[in-house]
């Protein structure tokens, strides 16, 4: 087979593997940060510094009994977690995590050229599963499909808490999706493209030689709106109404146990990674850092930025209290949406003046 295709397949497999692992890493990170915020130790018994805790959690979840309420709709009950997890994973497919590379620098540094005679590929390949020319909209549409996982879970469980959680989830996600879309529409106008790869490359270079040309500096309001709407989209605290423990037991996944529950859990963390990765690509320059790294190593910047955003998400969850549900809706429609529209209009005006179409 063509080495180009093999390399692309390896990249795809690697992306999937890292995405799976990111959930485990995030669980550990979340528990440690939570412990730090609450002045506890957090997990420290399983493995050195509690590093094997996520593994133990997974084994525990697999061992548990798979329960289904008697009155639940069996087919939809088992379909719902699959939709959730599948949507979460497939949304990441169009997110590029590094500049196109032919791996020649990597081969030299790891002595692959001496050991196996691998001198790099003929043509550079995309460091993404697929760089589609309407990538951003694909992410948007798949996120929209993710709502069905939650709604179906809530409805098919045939339990009042699940149903209420699902209703809240769908209302919340539809409301915040609009601000979410409008905030990145401004970036699309500045970059003049819907492909995430092109948008990242539009942010290459520096102003005055040291300030990186990231869109966060031109679009600070857009970035804030994107982050806020992103928290609401991923159902994280302070907007975690679909699973508010004090009111709804566990919301839409009350009736789920064992691996079906694990699927929802996985989906939540993978969604967080996707939102952070998209925010990095759109506003934080993707793989372009404050100073350039050798060719084929830009993904280190990408990883660092995504980790920083994820830390921010976790930090926020354990610092801020939950809003009230009506406050959430009011904030979404009366403050966030007008701000997003205003941001879009101003950006359109500026883009028109600068680019002159």
């Amino acid at each position: 087979m063509n080495p180009q295709i093999i390399a692309q397949l390896i990249v795809i497999g690697f992306t999937f593997f890292m995405l799976l692992n990111s959930a485990a890493i995030l669980v550990y990170m979340e528990r440690k940060v939570a412990a730090f915020v609450q002045q506890r130790y957090g997990p420290y018994l399983v493995g050195p510094k509690g590093l094997l805790q996520p593994l133990a959690d997974i084994i525990k979840l697999i061992m548990k009994e798979e329960l289904r309420p008697k009155s639940a709709d069996a087919f939809l009950f088992y379909l719902a977690p699959i939709i959730s997890a599948a949507a979460a994973f497939s949304a990441f497919a169009v997110v590029p995590w590094g500049a196109d590379t032919d791996f020649s620098t990597l081969a030299r540094l790891l002595f692959l050229d001496k050991l196996f005679g691998f001198k790099g590929l003929e043509h550079p390949i995309h460091l993404a599963v697929a760089d589609v020319n309407v990538g951003l909209l694909v992410i948007f549409s798949i996120t929209a499909m993710g709502v069905y996982g939650i709604v179906l879970a809530g409805w098919s469980s045939n339990s009042k808490y699940s149903l209420l959680g699902a209703l809240r989830a769908s209302a919340q996600m539809i409301s915040y999706e609009i601000s979410y879309g409008l905030s990145f529409a401004a970036v699309i106008m500045l970059a003049g493209s819907l492909s995430l790869g092109t948008i990242v490359d539009a942010q290459a270079g520096y102003w005055f030689g040291f300030i990186p040309k990231w869109y966060v500096f031109i679009q600070p309001l857009g970035f804030l709106i994107f982050l806020t709407a992103g928290v609401a989209e991923t159902n994280r605290a302070p907007f975690d109404f679909p699973e508010a423990e004090q009111e709804l037991v566990a919301g839409y996944h009350t009736e789920y146990s064992s691996m079906s529950f694990a699927m929802f859990f996985l989906a939540e963390y993978v969604n967080m990674v996707t939102v952070s990765a998209v925010a990095t690509d759109l506003f934080l320059g993707g793989w372009h850092g404050p100073f350039p790294l050798p060719d084929g190593f830009g993904w280190i910047w990408f990883l660092l930025k995504v980790l920083a955003l994820l830390f921010f998400y976790i930090w926020m969850r354990w610092t801020l209290p939950r809003y009230r549900y009506d406050q959430l809706m009011e904030f979404g429609w009366k403050w966030l949406l007008p701000a997003a529209v205003l941001n879009l209009l101003v950006s359109a005006y500026v883009a028109l003046r600068v680019n002159g179409w």
């Binding site: 909209l137 694909v138 549409s141 709604v151 769908s170 539809i174």
Partner: protein, 171 residues
């Protein structure tokens, strides 16, 4: 490959659409309609218009069908009941059913007749280049700007109408 994908997606869309009307459970109907929309989006991709496909998913499956699901969930109709009573006899009795069957048979015949007389038009070129978002934008906001704006006014009017109809009179 393309032909195979076309047949899979087309069969999926048609089967799902037929099943939508064959279901007694409204929840299942809504879900099958979503399957049909997604298959249709796949067909748009095959036609070289990923933009239309993505917009189809965002608007129909992402927004409109969620609202449908919302309504079905809130009403919580488990299954469609077979109607009983006088009104039901008028609509669901033997005579109206036979009449309906005759009408649908006529429709099916008409369809066969029309499809049989169809001539296949030549599509411009085998490899259609993917439609650019920019082209769609120019068409929509420059060439057909009036129709676009008129539609938006129409939708706004419909929205205001819905709000007025749903509003409770203040006492």
């Amino acid at each position: 490959m393309d032909a195979l994908l076309f047949w899979i997606l087309a069969a999926g869309a048609v089967t799902a659409s037929v099943l939508v009307i064959g279901q007694r459970n409204p929840m299942r109907s809504v879900l099958l309609l979503i399957v049909s929309f997604v298959a249709l989006a796949g067909l748009y991709v095959l036609l070289g218009s990923p933009f239309a496909a993505v917009i189809q998913i965002i608007i129909y499956t992402g927004a409109i069908m969620v609202l449908f699901l919302f309504v079905v969930m809130l009403l919580n109709v488990p299954t469609e009941e077979i109607p009983i009573g006088r009104a039901a006899r008028l609509l669901g009795g033997a005579a109206p059913r036979r009449f309906g069957a005759v009408i649908s048979a006529v429709l099916a015949l008409e369809l066969f007749w029309a499809i049989g007389r169809m001539t296949v038009l030549n599509m411009p070129g085998g490899d259609v280049k993917p439609t650019e978002v920019h082209d769609i934008g120019v068409r929509l906001f420059r060439d057909y700007a009036f129709a676009f704006e008129a539609t938006s006014v129409l939708i706004l009017v419909a929205m205001v109408g819905a709000v007025i109809l749903a509003r409770k009179e203040p006492r």
